[in-house]
């Protein structure tokens, strides 16, 4: 399992535009910019160890990425992935819903991974596909959906 310190070190090397806003021995929070296609987006990235005191929350199970600005645009009438593609829908502000970057049932991510090498580039993938979806109405990045409609429900 990678420590918070290892995660922070890797992030600083690979993604210098991300700054650590909060850190402890069990969790870290970054803010930074990512491009995707060409326009820079400001994101938050939250990581926590499984035994974090709030370990029942989403960030203790996997890193949580949200797009802060420009705000995500909901398109309720789009043919594919309406109103927003591949997120864990979260109320009350749906535009801040965490991005769904991997399939939990495929073991594509674990706490042995560095977020700098997985979560952040995957978020860039998501942004690129999101911009394509906005421009064409189609989600070209593939993926699948679980059955649940709530953020903490990830059953297949």
């Amino acid at each position: 399992m990678k420590s918070v310190r290892q995660q922070i070190g890797a992030m600083a090397r690979r993604w210098p535009t991300f700054e650590v806003a909060e850190q402890s021995t069990t969790h870290a929070l970054w803010f930074g910019g990512l491009i995707g296609v060409e326009r820079s987006h400001r994101l938050s990235l939250e990581f926590a160890l499984p035994d974090h005191r709030d370990g029942k929350g989403m960030s203790a199970r996997f890193p949580v990425v949200r797009v802060l600005s420009p705000r995500l645009i909901l398109k309720p009438n789009t043919a594919e992935e309406a109103p927003l593609p591949h997120v864990y829908f979260e109320e009350p502000d749906t535009t801040l819903s965490p991005l769904c970057l991997f399939d939990p049932s495929k073991s594509e991510w674990s706490h042995d991974d560095l977020v700098a090498h997985t979560t952040v580039p995957w978020a860039a993938d998501w942004l690129a596909c999101y911009e394509g979806w906005l421009a064409t109405g189609r989600w070209h990045g593939g993926g699948r959906h679980g059955r649940g409609a709530h953020k903490d429900t990830m059953e297949e």
Binding site: E38, S40, C129, E131, A135
Partner: protein, 438 residues
């Protein structure tokens, strides 16, 4: 490259326009706006397969005119493409969704004593032929040319000319005879489009790396068109690269498309002439410029030329550099208002272009700009293709991620530009998510 596909490419992230514009031509790291401009130009231009079809068709017309019972038998000295066809800047016709205008000169051996109307009528009779012959009923006599219409929307404008001076190659006159005007207003107009096209092609040589990158994209798009149209013959791949296009020619195609779009609803108004645009484009041609850079400098130069005339309260006067008596602006602008209108069009185009090339807009906003500049069909199709390419590269894992997070499709294509090592290509992943309950 070590371990995460890190690229260190100048200008691939948030940067100023100059940085963005200096990237390798149409490579995977080229600015998005540049890739969209190339895609749009490819969708509006005469594709390699139809270029060959046009050549076959004008060769067939030449043979038809020279047939034994033709009134012009043994009277054709030379048949050659002029205008857009000669500089390879042909785009879809203004009034047709799928058609192309092909301009051909038929240099005839005729006495100069014939009236303009007689020459045009003679050419019309030669092409139209007797009832039942190949082109009968497909032909229309125009003011300066004879047009042959094809069912697929292509049409060939064949302009008759007569050589004026044997010692000055291709220095000719064309014939102006509007049917409803009195013969007194008919005239001969001096021209040397052959020499102009030579001059243009000399000044706008293709940059090899750009020409190859553009030709490969054009050929790929053309293959799709060929599959959809059984009548079109494929052309050898090398012919799309050999003597490929310069950024100036591609930019000129886009500028003409924009002009056509702006004038679509201006009924009865003449278009700013393509040949005037081509002349100014060649004068501003910079080897190796990007499409966006070429488009900006051509539009800027035309705007300056028109504004200079406007300041002097006159109409612009642009002439053939190889035949000073040939005035390219003899029929446009009709008046100062038309001149001012095109100045405003160019100002708007340049503003839109600057926005298209900036890194502060998202892809859907760039799509809207592209639609406004060049029309919905080619613009949306280009953006669809771009989004699909990005998506495929992500799904297959065949993409790199720049230091600022830009997704660069196709590892193989990007490899020459990798200069900084880093972690590997991010490993594949599957987008997931909850379903929307609303």
């Amino acid at each position: 490259m070590v371990n995460d596909g890190t690229l260190d490419i100048p200008g691939t992230g948030a940067g100023d326009m100059n940085n963005l514009w200096s990237n390798p031509p149409l490579g995977p790291t080229a600015p998005v706006g540049e890739i969209l401009l190339a895609g749009t130009a490819i969708r509006i231009e005469l594709p390699p397969s139809l270029h060959q079809l046009a050549v076959d068709r004008y060769e067939a017309i030449r043979k038809h005119i020279e047939r034994a019972d033709s009134p012009l038998h043994d009277r054709v000295r030379i048949f050659y493409p002029q205008g857009s066809m000669a500089i390879r800047a042909t785009i879809k016709a203004r009034k047709r969704v799928d058609g192309f205008d092909i301009d051909i000169i038929a240099e005839l051996i005729l006495p100069l004593s014939l009236t303009p109307a007689e020459v045009l009528d003679l050419l019309f009779a030669a092409i139209n032929g007797p009832p039942g012959s190949r082109y009968h009923g497909m032909v229309e006599r125009q003011t300066r040319c004879v047009t042959v219409y094809y069912a697929d929307g292509m049409h060939l404008d064949v302009t008759p000319t007569v050589l004026i001076d044997e010692r000055a190659p291709r220095l000719s006159c064309l014939f102006h005879a509007k049917a409803e005007e009195p013969p007194a207003s008919h005239k001969r107009v001096l021209m040397n489009s052959f020499a102009f096209c030579d001059w243009f092609n000399e000044l706008t040589p293709a940059n090899v790396s750009f020409a190859m990158a553009y030709a490969e994209r054009a050929a790929a798009f053309d293959r799709i068109a060929i599959l959809a149209d059984a009548e079109v013959k494929p052309v050898p791949a090398h012919s799309t690269i050999e003597g490929g296009k310069s950024t100036t020619v591609v930019a000129l195609q886009l500028l003409k498309r924009n002009r056509n779009l702006r004038h679509e609803k201006r009924k009865g108004m003449r278009l700013p002439p393509s040949v005037m645009m081509a002349k100014i484009a060649a004068e501003t041609s910079v080897p190796g410029a990007s499409i966006a850079g070429a488009l900006e400098s051509i539009a800027g130069a035309i705007q300056s030329t028109l504004e200079a005339a406007e300041r002097e309260e006159r109409l612009v006067d642009v002439r053939n550099p190889r035949c000073q008596d040939e005035r390219f602006t003899d029929r446009w602008p009709e008046n100062r208002q038309a001149q001012r209108l095109y100045i405003e069009d160019l100002k708007l185009l340049r503003q839109q272009l600057a926005a298209l090339m900036s890194d502060s807009l998202m892809l859907d906003q760039k799509r809207d700009l592209l639609v406004a500049m060049f029309g919905e069909g080619p613009a949306q199709s280009t953006v669809d293709e771009y989004a699909a390419t990005i998506g495929r590269s992500i799904q297959s894992g065949n993409r790199l991620v720049s230091p600022l997070g830009r997704i660069v499709p196709s590892v193989a294509a990007a490899a020459p530009f990798v200069v900084k090592s880093g972690p590997a290509q991010p490993r594949p992943h599957t987008f997931f998510g909850t379903r929307w309950k609303g």
